[in-house]
């Protein structure tokens, strides 16, 4: 990839002499971590190119538009292995790229941002959903394309409240991420009028996600784990670590639906989404990558499209001019969500509707009807301006 990029540079220098109207080259970096997480369901196991596949499609889309504006976009990918220095990798990428799309854990993302601060390079966070990155740890050089945990939790809670399923049994995993999601669900309950009737922790005692003995044991364990609970409408599972949530549907003691990390799941995107012209995007993605488009793919697509949108609107490849546009009042991007997406100016979080999906279909899209807001109904999802802890300036 790097070699190809160097070739492109060499070519463009050589061509400058010959052609008067060389395209403006706009380099985008992609900084991710190596390896993929293990999921309980084989069907949900992410592909090796999860995320960057979306960025590649957006580069194609940007280049189709770029043909008419004499702009050309390239993508340079770096995958960090365990123990590699993120600050160094980010700085190296920033040598040739004005913007970097990042799929990194929160601490690594902050290290990368701080390493790039003086250079002025901006990271587009496509992967991390931590609220802290948009609140107390916010940075002026990170634009957040991924939704936050609180946006996801609020989207789910609005639907459950709209459905009048207000009594929730919350099961929380034993890892930090799971606890953060549980915090977001508790906050959503308070905001929208849900009631958590009982909480239980599901300890991760280790063990393999796949066994030859199969489901026999799980079928005995899950009913026992979910019995003796006060009357509830929905079981909410907070299990980002993929330890137990997918074992719960159809195995609860009482016949109740499951939501959260399994069952009805809040997400930025799903392969089943076909509203608002999405079919064209889904088709383009499948044609290019021979697989379905995930939420991470969509977040990376949107990030690269935001950069393309900025380049076409300011008719320039100058990162500073593009950034001013992205942060300015005229920025919006169309991303197949039925309405324009804009940035919250207080913490640079992309406002977006959240899909509620069951693995086969899009069940609903939040914000739900009737959840009103004085600025944008999308701000009923997540931490709003009056509550923010972010100080960008």
């Amino acid at each position: 990839m790097i070699r190809r990029w160097i070739c492109a540079i060499g070519f463009s220098i050589a061509a400058t002499q010959a052609l008067a109207a060389d395209p403006v080259e706009i380099g985008i970096g992609y900084l991710g971590h190596a390896g993929v997480r293990s999921t309980l369901s084989l069907v949900q196991q992410p592909a090796d190119n999860d995320g960057i596949a979306g960025a590649h499609l957006a580069i194609e889309d940007n280049n189709t538009t770029g043909k008419f504006l004499n702009q050309h976009f390239t993508l340079q990918e770096v995958r960090l292995k365990e123990g590699e220095d993120v600050a160094q990798a980010a700085s190296a990428l920033a040598e040739h790229n004005g913007f970097i799309i990042a799929d990194l854990p929160p601490d690594a993302l902050l290290k990368a941002a701080d390493a790039l601060r003086d250079r002025g390079t901006v990271l587009l966070n496509a992967g991390a959903i931590d609220d802290s990155l948009r609140e107390q740890d916010c940075r002026a050089n990170i634009i957040h394309v991924a939704p936050t945990r609180s946006m996801l939790a609020d989207a789910l809670a609005q639907y459950l409240v709209w459905k009048q399923w207000k009594r929730w049994f919350l099961v929380v995993g034993s890892h930090d991420k799971d606890k953060l999601f549980a915090d977001a669900l508790r906050r959503a309950a308070t905001r929208f009028g849900g009631k958590i009737v009982q909480e239980k922790t599901f300890e991760d005692t280790g063990g393999a996600r796949r066994t030859d003995s199969g489901v026999t044991l799980i079928q005995r364990q899950m009913p026992v784990f979910t019995q003796q609970v006060p009357a509830y409408d929905v079981l909410l599972a907070a299990d980002e670590s993929e330890v137990f949530a997918s074992y719960l549907p159809y195995r609860t003691w009482d016949p109740r639906p499951v939501a959260g990390s399994a069952g009805l799941v809040p997400t930025s995107w799903d392969a089943a989404q076909d509203q608002w012209g999405s079919t064209q995007l889904q088709n383009r993605f499948v044609k290019l990558n021979s697989r379905h488009m995930t939420a991470l793919d969509m977040q990376a697509w949107t990030a690269a499209r935001m950069i393309g949108e900025a380049a076409s609107r300011v008719n320039s490849g100058d990162p500073k001019a593009m950034l001013n546009f992205l942060k300015g009042p005229d920025f919006s991007v169309a991303a197949f969500k039925g309405q324009r997406l804009t940035l919250r100016d207080w913490n640079l979080q992309l406002r977006q509707p959240i899909l509620l999906v069951d693995g086969r279909m899009v069940v609903s899209v939040s914000p739900q009807e009737g959840f009103l807001h004085q600025v944008s109904e999308l701000d009923t999802l997540g931490v709003d301006r009056p509550e923010t802890k972010c100080k960008l300036h």
């Binding site: 189709t64 008419f68 064209q280 919006s332 169309a334 324009r340 109904e377 999308l378």
Partner: protein, 326 residues
Amino acid sequence: MWRRCLLFGLGASLATSLAAATPARAYTAYVSNEKGNTVSVIDTDNWTVTKTIKVGQRPRGIEFTRDGKSVMVAVGDDDTIQVIDTKKQEVVDTLPSGPDPELFTQDAAGKILYVANENDNTVTVIDLEKRARLGDIQVGVEPEGMTVSPDGKILINTSETTNMAHFIDTSTRKIVGNVLVDARPRFAEFKPDGSELWVSSEIGGSVSIIDPVKHVVTGKINFEIPGLRREAIQPVGIGMTKDGKTAFVALGPANRVAIVDATSHKVTKYLLVGQRVWHMAFTPDEKYLLVTNGVSNDVSVIDVAAQKVIKTIQVGELPWGITIEP
């Protein structure tokens, strides 16, 4: 909302029974029902659906042939355009479009058809007499809106993700200009005298006024409706009277049609119609304008002179496009 619609419909039908006293020539309107996979036929004399025609999957763009004998309807999920014989009122033929056709337009003589193929980033050119594909023109991402200039020299195509109106020379079939507009441009319409091109941007929430000679945006129409968020205002279909004085713009989920003074570009009135209003067509005498309401499964009839909605007609599932016999 539903109740309001129903009450409104009742009131409107009373008004129509009075209006029906004045005799007007009856026309036939054809409405494509995107989800129903049907086309509803409306008699404009008594505003009733006289027939529902089964067509292919996901019918959207729909237009009469110039001779008035057939109706062409793009059935995107079947990757073709079907031809309905208006006498038999059934599908009798198909045209060789590219994959996933959505909207199309034809030249003044009715001999050449230009089709936007969303999946392919192309505009397909079809010879209507020979039923043959003449070629493809590469355009931006997700081509949609299509129109031909009144002098026939320029074809306009809008691309939804590229956010441009492409100017294509109809004789060379080459792009001669590209104009950037607001997000997700969906529909293009020339002023009858060819002096202006109007392009609606669904997500951008505006209509761009373009100088077709200089290829620049000279003005923008924005819409403000008290009590409605900016995000809900999503302009799609545009209709203009033949005298070029008045334009109607469908505003999607804002459930309204804006009436615009086409000279000053000022919005003069908003008409409440059904839910998610998409496209529109005038009766040839321009007495009435019919608009399709996607979510409420009906068509609103607007009295053009009175600037009032006079009737609501229930059609098939998710009505999208509409055409009225010439």
